[in-house]
Symmetry: C2
């Protein structure tokens, strides 16, 4: 059994907890959160499962190899905020798997932080990985895996398109459905409406394929309803946003060689994930229906735990780890 | 530059040679073949490229770390035959990448040979990998990679379907197109008409996912023309074979949990590769047009060379290597 300390008990941390409780190979041994309202609660009950017999705590002294083997950190997308949590875990002898999007490939955007994590992990003989479905799999690992079938790749394009009509209200709100264009734009500027990780995915692709990007863009725009729409959860009027269209673009020698498109709207005709490599040969591959983001992220995180325990010490990425496979736990 | 010794100069070895000659990171330094008719020929000219200044030789003393870093072995599908070539290379300090299908996951079918290769490689601090498009990628690595998005996987099904109408005559002949059912059956029994590797792919999947297969099957059958067909290369009469339908089946507790289907016929309506995981969640992914087998195998082989040099010593498989990506050489 691998002993796991769960750090962060928001929606993703709660889903991870449920999977840990169901697992035959992993066991949850402690749970930490900064939210005082959660302290003292049983982590299993909070996660909507059986009581786990483990109270949620703020006691970071639990982040220690004498209590566990791996810390799963699901606290924030922002690497500057997660950085000290990672160093705490690592310097106390714990491996780390985190859903922090900016940790998925931090070497280019945050070289100093990357170096400090890598050095601390090597010093304490543990490994650190940022992963999830996206970034971590669909828009970076998977196109890289397919690139192995090519003699040369000139361009990478990934499309992740989701019809949000059948998703829960929080997801529809998260993608800006029902907002006026002005309110949508305000939230984009406040960085409360955006998918984090396109830049990290672009750098993972470029760095691994030996490309030097002189510029990256990450542009978030609303998709506007041209007629009224009604879902189980909300009504959208003509002129309001049905959702988001976000594009990451990476340029080399003035040419756009990476295009990562995340589009999620209420009323999108079809959901799918598609990877297109322009090269020798071209490759065009598609996942019909698309992969559910929360499920994929929680599954990759859980499945990465034994892999990170076995990995070479240091800051790892999905591009230099052995393939992460289903634990069937 | 990584120095490569090419062993075996059949069609695949020649294609590898052309790519090595084009590469900025790899260089061909010696070429070996057992065919006396090839000895003394320039390997570049034989491969249909510029002269390489390297004569094809039978001198196995060239298989040595003083001449090269990696041996690429493209001699046979049969691991018993390739075994001694691998040991020769490894004991003389060379890493090995091979297209030998039975080397892709030999641990279950050939545990003694696997152990001898693994021990020799570790002793000499080098790594050995059997790879290609299939086995090595489409029917084993890729479903395993997608399994990382699942909490549980109950069944794996892969379909590789190819329309051979536009392929070269040798490929159409290789899949039995134009044969009578009796002649087709004779070639299947003589093992001259079959795709090698379905069993290895099944074991790679099962072993990695923690499944115990009590039985595997590998069944080769003709697809019979129900009307006359004509391609640029041949005519097929009603009642003759249009190609092959080969199925690998893996059973656990009496249930077929792995199904690997390779179907290549003249007149197949569409070419595609499809991976279906039955689990939580289900995953259904498809490569439209399919991946050309020769191109994919040569590309993966070339792209694996820097990865095998960097890998942990021993007998590696695609399930325990970092992802192999395009060298863009």
């Amino acid at each position: 059994m691998i002993r796991v300390i769960q750090v962060g008990l928001g929606p993703i941390g709660q889903k991870v907890t449920r999977q840990l409780m169901d697992s035959k190979q992993l066991e949850i041994v402690a749970a930490l959160d900064i939210d005082e309202g959660k302290h003292g609660q049983d982590v299993g009950v909070l996660a909507g499962s059986e009581p786990a017999g483990i109270q949620i705590s703020r006691n970071t002294a639990l982040l220690d190899a004498s209590f566990g083997d791996v810390a799963v950190i699901t606290t924030s997308s922002d690497l500057e905020r997660v950085h000290s949590q990672i160093l705490d875990a690592v310097t106390n002898g714990l491996h780390v798997v985190s859903t922090c999007e900016e940790l998925s490939y931090p070497w280019i955007v945050a070289p100093e932080i990357s170096k400090s994590i890598d050095e601390a992990a090597k010093k304490h003989n543990v490994s650190v990985l940022g992963t999830g479905i996206n970034p971590g799999f669909l828009m970076d690992f998977l196109p890289l895996a397919f690139s192995g079938l090519c003699f040369g790749v000139r361009k990478v394009r990934v499309e992740r398109v989701q019809n949000a009509a059948f998703r829960r209200l929080p997801f529809q709100q998260k993608i800006g459905a029902g907002l006026t264009p002005d309110e949508f734009q305000r939230r984009v500027q406040a960085k409360t409406l955006r998918h984090v990780g396109l830049t990290e995915s672009m750098h993972m692709i470029a760095d691994t394929l030996g490309w030097k990007l002189e510029k990256t863009e990450d542009i978030v725009k609303p998709v506007i309803a041209t007629e009224p729409l009604t879902t189980d959860a909300m009504s959208i009027e003509t002129g309001q946003a049905t959702g988001v269209n976000q594009i990451g673009r990476g340029y080399q020698d003035g040419e756009e060689i990476i295009s990562l498109i995340f589009r999620a709207t209420v009323g999108e005709p079809a959901s799918y994930d598609r990877i297109i490599l322009e090269g020798s040969p071209n490759i065009d591959t598609k996942v019909d229906g698309g992969i559910n983001g929360d499920i994929g992220t929680v599954a990759v995180t859980i499945n990465a735990i034994p892999a990170i325990v076995a990995a070479n010490p240091g800051l790892r990425t999905m591009a230099d780890m052995p393939v992460i496979t289903c634990l069937n736990s």
